[in-house]
């Protein structure tokens, strides 16, 4: 059975884009998911924070701190949006035609997304923006992996 699951996972992951619900519970979306948008925003905000050091050499460090605080607050809000969205992702489970093994994988990825988003939220709340990239990259991998498995991009 597990071989069958593996085969179907691989087939669907590699299948061309198709419409409506698929056997593995894929759903076609014309717009990006809410947490996908928030994830991209996190990435943009981190770039903005980096650019303060790279590109704004005429700012005093105190001015940079003000901008860092501002951007970090926005990171916190975006991370909050992602972690709150995890509940909605889980709630969609009953509507997906998944078998129990696939459901397990789906929930694990949803939980993983929530935990990683909460980590970012906590780091942002503590104003530790320099540590956020360590958590941000694995979060992107989680989102991407889940979308590739269960959602037509």
């Amino acid at each position: 059975m597990s071989r069958l699951v593996l085969m179907s996972l691989l087939l669907v992951a590699c299948a061309p884009k198709s419409g409506s619900w698929q056997s593995l519970g894929e759903v076609e979306r014309t717009s990006p998911s809410l947490h996908g948008v928030a994830d991209q925003r996190l990435r943009d905000l981190m770039l903005k924070i980096d650019s303060l050091v790279m590109s704004e050499k005429e700012m005093t460090e105190i001015q940079r701190d003000l901008y860092r605080k501002k951007y970090t607050q926005k990171i916190r809000e975006s991370a909050q949006m992602i972690s709150n969205n995890a509940a909605a992702v889980r709630a969609s489970l009953p509507f997906l035609p998944l078998n129990t093994t696939q459901q397990a994988a789906f929930l694990i990825l949803a939980d993983r997304m929530e935990v990683q988003a909460r980590n970012i939220e906590n780091l942002a709340a503590a104003n530790h923006s320099d540590q956020i990239p360590d958590v941000l990259n694995p979060l992107a991998v989680t989102c991407r992996a889940c979308h590739q498995l269960f959602r037509v991009q």
Binding site: S2, L9, K48, D65, A104, D111, N137, P138, V141, A145
Partner: protein, 485 residues
């Protein structure tokens, strides 16, 4: 069993926590998919195994002679519920990770540093106090090749200083010169202490431009602030420093009011029709600069009576910021013999930084006034023209403009194109060799392979016109490396 299943899945998915690029690549996803599938298979095997064990255990229990009380508790307790959970309940319960469990990336407990960390980035807290301290800066090398050297000015060879672009005979013997220096290297120190009256910040910053031919430290910033109050030396309130384009040349574009000086400043945020704005009022250090008739140099009489008064409104938004500033100054000369010459004048500035696509941005600055001379283009112009013999002082109308665009090719490579213009209308009697107009173009390509290192190449073209109508130009190529710490 739930724990085992969760643990197995968690372990399998823990591979997802491996550091990787921001976006999962196809290869990475294939590995993840494979790992996930293997772990699901292992999970199934494990569940089958445990179910067999459970069935055996039940058989043993039914056969065994036990007390009625113990049998009841076993049936109603965890064994019974483990045997037949609803599929949904089981999955949800099994998949819940412990926040600090293994394989879930950076956990909150692990992520936060101990209490020695200060309240601001990269700082340490002084034990027993609320004060956080931090130091930083960068080491920068500038290699500058100029088609013509600045006549008699080492500074002019190190950065664009409009007044030192040679004209006429001063160009002779100055062709094709190279300079290497590390004078822009900076060191800063800051502290932060929360208080009932607002955050207390102090900031000190130095570079090595203290002397033209040696490496003496020069104070760039030295100020403290508490809540809305600031006292010390920093960028003039008249300048919107976020409008300064990113150039390797520390002299930057002409047409900008890039001046740092001592001041007392109050900042007050407020709302107008629901729009958040900031108002700043400052009294800044005065310093009259006069264009004389006799010599082609600016004269600083040091006779100022009143500070320069500056007020500024700032609008800061997601798309960038805008500032509108106004200034009133008295230009004053009090000779030991003869009447005091003094006049009040004003200036205004509109400047901003507007974010366009991604990290791209437009920066601009427009300024105009009759006391703008000292505030623009590194003090290349006089605030007024003076004919001491005739007891005449005339304020110089001065205009400055700068427009730049910064494009980020990707998160490491970026370019800036900046154009600047400045014009100062001197009195007819002013010395004919004094600067009246300048233009500059900066074009660069910068690369930051990591956040704390930047390499770049810049081309600079600048012209300078003097009162007599002749002009000189300068072409320069500059390579720089900068390492922040």
């Amino acid at each position: 069993m739930r724990r085992l299943a969760t643990g197995t899945m968690s372990l399998g998915l823990s591979l997802l926590t491996l550091p990787g690029p921001a976006r999962a690549t196809d290869e990475e996803l294939k590995v993840l998919l494979k790992t996930l599938s293997q772990q699901v298979q292992q999970l199934n095997d494990r569940v089958n195994h445990l179910e067999q064990e459970l069935a055996q255990e039940r058989q043993v229990r039914t056969r065994a002679t036990v007390s009625p009380g113990l049998a009841a508790s076993s049936t109603q307790g965890s064994v019974g519920s483990m045997a037949k959970p609803s599929p949904q309940e089981a999955l949800v319960a099994n998949s819940r990770p412990a926040a600090s469990g293994p394989g879930w990336g950076t956990t909150p407990d692990k992520a936060f540093k101990p209490n020695t960390v200060g309240d601001i980035k990269g700082s340490i807290k002084i034990p027993g106090t609320d004060t956080s301290l931090a130091i930083g800066g960068y080491a920068k090398l500038d290699a500058v090749f100029s088609n013509v050297g600045a006549f008699g000015s080492a500074y002019g060879d190190q950065y664009l200083m409009l007044a030192t672009i040679p004209v006429k005979a001063a160009r002779l013997g100055e062709n094709s010169q190279t300079t290497l220096h590390a004078k822009e290297s900076r060191f800063w120190f800051k502290s932060y202490t929360p208080s009932a009256y607002g955050d207390i910040n102090t900031y000190l910053e130095f570079d090595l431009y203290g002397a033209a031919d040696s490496y003496l430290p020069r104070l760039r910033h030295a100020y403290g602030s508490m809540g809305g109050f600031l006292g010390g030396q920093t960028w003039t309130t008249f300048l919107n420093q976020s409008a300064i384009p990113e150039t390797l040349d520390v002299g930057s574009s002409v047409g900008l009011g890039n001046l740092r000086q001592p001041m007392i400043r109050w900042s007050q945020p407020f709302k107008l029709f629901g729009v958040p704005l900031e108002f700043q009022a400052a009294a800044e250090s005065p310093g009259t600069r006069l264009a004389l008739r006799e010599v082609p140099a600016l004269f600083a009489p040091n006779d100022d009576r009143y500070p320069d008064f500056i007020a500024r409104f700032k609008y800061d938004s997601e798309w960038g910021n805008l500032t509108l500033a106004g200034m009133a100054r008295q230009i004053r000369y009090a000779p030991s013999v003869g009447p005091v010459l003094a006049q009040w004048g004003g200036a205004a500035s509109l400047a901003g930084k507007i974010n366009t696509i991604g990290l791209d941005n437009i920066r601009f600055s427009l300024s105009f006034g009759n006391v703008l001379g000292r505030y623009i283009s590194l003090g290349s112009f006089g605030d007024a023209s003076m004919d001491a013999a005739a007891n005449t002082l005339r304020l110089n109308n001065t205009y400055g403009a700068m427009l730049s665009y910064q494009h980020w090719w990707d998160s490491q490579w970026r370019s800036t194109v900046a154009y600047g213009f400045v014009q100062s209308n001197l009195a007819r009697f002013a010395n004919a060799d004094l600067s009246t107009q300048g233009q500059s173009v900066h074009v660069n390509l910068l690369w930051s392979p990591v956040v704390y290192a930047t390499f770049g190449l810049e081309y600079i073209y600048a012209t300078r016109n003097v009162e007599s109508g002749i002009y000189g130009d300068l072409q320069r190529v500059q390579f720089s490396s900068r390492f922040n710490f």
